[in-house]
Amino acid sequence: MTHEVIMAGFGGQGVMSIGQLLTHAGMEVGLNVSWYPSYGPEMRGGTAFCHVIVSDEFIGSPLVTSPTDLIIMNRPSLDKFEQTAASGASVFVNSSLIDREVKRDDIKAYYIPANDIANRLGNVRVANMVMFGAFLACTGIAPVDVVELCFKEMLGPSKAHMIDVNRKALREGMKLVDK
């Protein structure tokens, strides 16, 4: 089992965090994991993305060149990464901000109105968790309680007040995908 995931969006949309969350959760369930961020000028006002590999085999290159999964938070990211996806890949599209559909027909698209749901939950910044919830439901890489433990740890005491809304966002996202 190997998932090679790219998560992409505007800087500030929290794609790095959900990438780390997946990595962390993968580690907790005993898988080999790696996380590799985009770094550099794209991050200044442009698009940010990270590569996550979760696998039960040795991880060679941490670079994801043909992702099995894409979590796409904005339109430029869809334009940039759609073509790279492996055939049969799952693509999670933040339909609140992305006004077009996935063009390829050899990949499976999930449209998640993440910003709308996050807004409904009272904090647009948890849109990433909505997306991640959907991804998690689809892939089943780690049980939800492990994931929750992980983000509790990642948020730390100073952001403890954020745990609840994140948990809600995660569950909402999971609900959207019935598998």
Binding site: P41, R44, G45, G46
Partner: protein, 251 residues
Amino acid sequence: MSIIFERPRSLTDKPFHYCPGCTHGLVHRLVAEVIDELDIQANTIGVEPVGCAVSAHDYFDIDMQEAAHGRAPAVATGIKRVWPDKVVFTYQGDGDLASIGMAEIVHAAARGERITTIFINNAIFGMTGGQMAPTSLLGQVTTTSPHGRDAGSAGYPIRVSELLATLQGAAYVARVSVHDVKNIARAKRSIKKAFTTQIEDKGFSIVEVLSTCPINWGMTPADSLKWLQDNMIPYYPLGELKVDGEGVINR
């Protein structure tokens, strides 16, 4: 129809890549307006730093050279010695100029090198993600002074203009700010004077521009301007320190 305000001719059409509210773009515009007004676009050569303004050549519509980190004054010296009749300027941040490039700026000033330096003091290393600069204020939290800059171990912020003003070759030295419209106008006047000082062959000229880095300061752009005004200006007083090679306190 007449134009009250528009993009200066000496800038290309390319939108700035700077973060929202970052005053680098603003200072670029002022420099370009001065180039336009002095009508020197065709014979001006710019030297860009390593720092957020590293790609200033994307914006200034003139011949330019990218310098190694901190060495812009040396690069500009090389150019100026080849073309003594051209206008040569450097555009440098506080990491670039006041940290790694201290020797080069001091010596360019001491030599009275006929170049102009636009010195963007935003009290931080912007490009690399918010590390302490030599101009970071005491107590300022940065990624390498996580508990605030401590004079005991990290020393005191350097007042670059005051330091350079001690040098005979420095003909024009001024510190300005861009935290409000009035000061923006003043800043432009100083930049123009600096270029004029060069054109009139009077010596080295520098304008230190107090600037913001909202992203790494962790503030909104508007709060950044206020923080600059409330915290930077008291330590870095504005005004002309030297005009035509004579020391003045014109504040």
